[in-house]
Amino acid sequence: MVIKSILTHFATSAIAATLAFSSLAQADYPEKSVSYIVPFGPGGESDVTARHQQPFFKKLFDEDLVISYKPGGGGAVGWSQLNTMKGDGYSMMGINLPHIIIKPLQKNVGFETKDLTGVYMFHYTPDAIVVKQDSPFKTLDDLVAFAKQNPGKLILSGSGKGSANHLAQVRFDNMASVKSTYVSFKGTGKAVAALLGEQVLAQWGYTSVGAKHEGKVRMLAVATESRHPRFPDVPTFKELGYDLVSGAYRGIAVPKSTPEDVRQKISSMIADINSDKEFRQRMENDGMMLLDVSYDKMDAFIAQKSKEYISAAKQAGVIK
């Protein structure tokens, strides 16, 4: 009897201690370095934005953010493994739109969009039509006029098929009732090289291209809601009569097994980084647009974007 009561006593106190400890752990989270997996190779834009976040994570939360890479299958290799990782809040992975929506619809890639637990979308790089500085296309109207007169002959480079660039091209062609030719390159760098080398007439690129190659290229229009703070002189597609707001969206997801309160905690931490003035400045300088979609708004955001992307991807023949 006595032994039993002692045992019970120990058991309850042990449970109590664990509970106390776990809630304490969350209060102190993070208490060690956090692993941040980029499902692409080093040097790409997903890597660069993660690198931008890295020092601010350290500054605000006093722990290291350790970036590693798991490239392959256009992100699929990483995302298909996310839920096998430990859900203790110390593993998180970058997620990208439209990739996580389009990929699983093309073929079995080992994950479904709904399998990924996104906790925050922190920025997007808006799509933009980019031409060489000395291009005869001075305005978007020039470009559209050329495309109307020469169906199929307006050749644009862009990064990837079924990518933000490609889907923007399909949607824009529909809105402007033109037919252009999209040439997919592996990565934005090579698409810019094709533009600068005059292999193509224009590029479906991102505002980051305009920022990085300022002086050598011009942007005819950007796919933002209102003008980009970094490029006050470049009109938006909306202003010019095309309802196109799009780009490559980036966010952060955690393994499914991550407890609810940790998900919320990470969401608010990324929000903190996003509201850091210096961070905003650095990102905007690179041509990125900051975005604040927190954990509670993720589902609605993904649902809305899915609708846009899926219909464009169907038209593009990227999915059936």
Partner: protein
Amino acid sequence: MLEYLFQALTPLNLLLALAGVVAGTIIGSLPGLTATMAVAVLVPITFTMPVTSALIMLGAIYTGAIYGGAYAAILLNTPGTPSAIATTFDGYPMAKRGDGDLAITLACIASVVGGLVGAFFLLVLAPPLAEVALAFGPAEYFWMALFGLTLIAALSEGNLTKGLIGGCFGLLLACVGSAAVSGDIRFTFGSLTMIGGIETVSALIGLYCIPVLIDLVAVSERHLNVTGEQRGYRLKEAMAISWKGKFNLARSSIIGTFVGILPGAGGSIAGLVSYSEARRASKDKSQFGKGAPEGIQATESANNATVGGGFVPTLVLGIPGTPPDAVILGALMVHGLRVGPEMFESSGSIVYTFIFGLFIATLLMLPAGLLIGRYAYRFIITVPKALLVPTVAFMTLIGAYSIRNSVSDVFIMLVLGALSWVLNRFGFSPSPIVLGLILGRIAEEGFVQSWTIGAATENLFGMFFGRPISMVIIAAIGLGLFYPFFAKQIRLKRLQKEVIE
């Protein structure tokens, strides 16, 4: 100019250059840990540094890693980085016959020469050279990849059919996973393991290293044949050979610089192209592949020249010349630095200080590289087989895993390794397979893009055959393709002559 040199010569920068070269060499020497990874892993360290010091350190790591790749290539027949593929062709035979120490010293000298030539071009000609990168369109990449494939003919003289079969197998392997241009997923046979495709570096480890490991276990002889006592660095001997091969070194360094300038080509192609050119130019071709020092000199000078060459489009155009450049460019963006031609004018101090830093790092590679190389060599020859085999086996697993943090890559590496061992028994060498694997993707990308553009402009023929640079490459392909037949003819004629005489 001179003030930039002095800025590069501060004690801090010298220390960083040395540390970078040493770290790079060690990382690069481990199969699977590539220059790209060496740079990526060490990028965060540079965030706290001034921009020029960070650049110098990253450049030093990069250049060290490319050189370090030669160790494993020479001592274990496994390219430590893809840049060192062609180093295995003659490096390993040299090591086998007991000249591993000489081979490493030769590789070190060649790497330093190549690195200096690349940095020199970067210093004096970067902005105009960047135009070369832009002149290369999809059609040119397609033909360049085909040119690389013709190397199979040169590599498998006397055994062309097997070489071609190997090359085709490599091309098939290149198709597995998501397609280069369209992103379509193919040849995965429904397996999720295969979605990421065959990763080049893990394939290299499997194809080259696993057969060596199996043979180590299967035969009772020592791994490398070493006779007599230690002969030191054999620096004098190596210097004499290098002086004799000065034209080869110069040619290979220039090829390396230019290939480095082309975005997406990189050290592996530079090494292979200059290897085949060295072989073509050599008077005694029969020695190539059997331990000709010229082979090592060509590859190692070319791949280190790509470092300087690759920085040309990176710094002038903001378009990375090689994969490690992409990482360095990303780091520069985080540092808040804008690259572009104006870097060579207005903010010249950063870029010129960096270039001098690259020179210094390359020079430091000579003593550092010789010393580390000596330890690597000693380790491999003195360590008992019972220890060597598990150590190398462990390294292959870690290397294959770490490239993408993926267990699938380890499985693929092991399967390809076993296959490679079997194929070796039947006289197939791994090199044509690797050529197919690496070049297949570049060829496919260029072909699909050229076709799309050609079809849109209704000028398919002109797109593929009408562009001046393409025409030059096509001519070179013709030469490379029919070379073995010419060689045979010439040999026959010579024989006839001898018989008549």
